[in-house]
């Protein structure tokens, strides 16, 4: 529906809401990117920045909520407009959670920077890159109201789950190898889990875009690749460590 509202201020309000979501999405994207970089570069300055910026995302969510509630009360939106406003509430909530996960990654980056580096940390930027790609695709899909792009992003979450599961196994192996690895590896595990959860929220957004464009929710069951809940690594089965220097600084 490209036609303008007879009441122009309503169209303007809807546009403003979309702009707020787009801006918030951009910030969330940057937060995730910076947090992952902070882990990779062991940069406490970057990490601090991410933790401080999280308040901005919270503020965006409050603004979007207030705006959406005001429009629901005053405009009594219908059909596409109604879906637009309800979707913005849901997307803002997902982006806010993504921001929380990014902040948590940053916090752990600070801790990791104090500890000797461990090899599995190398997998984090790889996961981070995939998460960022998915987020970018989802946010583009929101801006363009592009259903195909949203569904494509939604499917890619499976790859992320696979990466997470393999990282999970790898990290467990390192922990068994040397108890001194346990602290950094546990943090890595949480970071990976956070990235995996960010991916889940991105797929939520993809599903919301589906509802926004088509009018009903995405019915298909998303392929679930995260099998880490069932992962079991026995010390006896553990593959020989990739290198004896792995745990050494």
């Amino acid at each position: 529906m490209n036609r303008e509202h007879i009441v122009r201020s309503f169209s303007e309000e809807l546009r403003r809401l979309t702009t707020l979501i787009t801006q918030m999405g951009g910030i969330a994207e940057a937060q995730v990117e910076t947090a992952v970089r902070a882990v990779a570069k062991r940069d406490t300055g970057l990490a601090t920045g991410v933790m401080q910026s999280d308040a901005r995302l919270d503020q965006y969510e409050r603004d979007i909520d207030a705006e959406a509630i005001r429009m629901l009360a005053l405009r009594q939106p219908m059909a596409g407009d109604l879906r637009e406003i309800v979707s913005s509430l849901k997307i803002a909530a997902d982006l806010e959670r993504i921001g929380d996960y990014a902040a948590n990654i940053a916090k752990r980056a600070m801790v990791l920077a104090q500890l000797p580096p461990v090899r599995p940390a190398g997998a984090i930027p790889r996961m981070g890159k995939l998460v960022q790609e998915i987020m970018k695709e989802v946010l583009d899909a929101y801006i363009d109201r592009d259903l195909d792009k949203a569904i494509a992003a939604w499917r890619r979450d499976e790859d992320l789950d696979d990466l997470y599961t393999s990282l999970f196994r790898e990290v467990l192996t390192y922990m068994m190898e040397d108890p001194r690895n346990i602290t950094p590896c546990t943090h890595l595990l949480f970071i990976a889990k956070n990235l995996e959860r960010i991916g889940d929220h991105a797929t939520n957004i993809a599903e919301t875009i589906h509802f926004l464009v088509v009018g009903h929710s995405l019915k298909a069951v998303r392929p679930k690749g995260d099998t880490s809940s069932f992962a079991l690594v026995n010390p006896a089965d553990a593959p020989p460590p990739p290198g004896d220097d792995a745990a050494e600084p």
């Binding site: 529906m1 036609r3 303008e4 509202h5 007879i6 009441v7 309503f10 009594q76 939106p77 219908m78 059909a79 596409g80 407009d81 109604l82 879906r83 088509v214 009018g215 009903h216 019915k219």
Partner: protein, 273 residues
């Protein structure tokens, strides 16, 4: 999913009774209406399901009131009006020669935009219909009809002590409920409402809407309204009319969240040109 819904809706249009378990009270097929040379309605096909509220929405002049008035042959009173097509009430052609329009209008009652009580007492406003239809004369039998009609219209407690006062002395909202009570008094099966709340304040409107919801248990209701929120609140089915055509009819929820036709979407979101 989208296709599934529309197929179901289409199937429902053809045979709602079998597929949905709700029998059609009224079916309209290929209804065309002309006022003189001007065509007001074009090939309307619509099923009105029993014990449901069907809302007819659309911009002014779209033909929704004209269609409503076809359902109890109110258009017969307009000389230049010509109705073609088939309208069945319980499977019976209401435009057949054998149909007595007075009886038909007792079965299909009507409530208008402006409350129009007779310039009589509250009691006589209600008693008038049953009396001319020979349902009851005077005495306890009529008292009972008056009481139960006013009760069902949610007006009894407000007027029970002033039944002999003129109906025109009531407030607008009370007058409209009096008109609804008057329509109910002759035990209709269908109640047609043409903008019943447009002259009422929000509280009186809420009373009427609550009443409509209660009446649905015993009656089939068709309501014309310009107030989209009202259509959304009171109806289970909504039909959108535009330029004399019935564009889309579906479950109210569908119409107001996911209309299929661009024109419906444009109208209900306030983008209609």
């Amino acid at each position: 999913m989208r296709i599934e819904v529309s197929q179901r809706a289409m199937a429902g249009r053809q045979d709602g009774a079998v597929l949905r378990g709700v029998p059609n009270k009224i079916t309209a097929r290929a209804v065309n209406v002309h006022y003189g040379a001007k065509r007001a309605l074009t090939d309307i096909n619509l099923d009105i399901e029993e014990n449901r509220v069907t809302a007819l929405i659309g911009p002014s002049g779209c033909g929704k009131s004209t269609f409503l008035r076809c359902l109890n042959r109110m258009n017969d009173t307009i000389d230049i009006c010509r109705v073609q097509g088939l309208i069945e009430l319980d499977g019976e052609d209401i435009y057949a020669k054998t149909i007595d329009t007075v009886q038909l209008r007792a079965r299909v009652g009507m409530v208008f935009q402006k409350p129009n009580p007779f310039p009589k007492s509250i009691y006589d406003n209600i008693a008038y219909g049953p009396r001319i239809h020979g349902l009851a004369q005077r005495g306890p039998e009529m008292d009972e009809i008056v009481r139960s009609s006013l009760e069902r219209a949610g007006l009894w407690n407000e007027v029970k002590d002033r039944l002999r006062e003129p109906g025109t002395g009531l407030s607008g909202g009370q007058q409209q409920r009096l008109c609804i009570a008057r329509a109910i008094a002759v035990s209709p099966e269908v109640i047609l409402m043409d903008e019943p709340c447009s002259a009422l304040d929000p509280i009186a409107t809420a009373h009427i809407e609550e009443l409509i919801d209660e009446l649905r248990e015993n009656y089939t209701i068709v309501i014309v309204t310009h107030n989209m929120q009202q259509a959304a609140r009171v109806s289970q089915k909504t039909a959108f009319f535009h330029l004399g055509e019935m564009v889309e009819c579906d479950d109210t929820e569908e119409i107001f969240t996911t209309p299929r036709d661009e024109r419906t979407q444009g109208y209900i979101t306030g983008r209609y040109g």
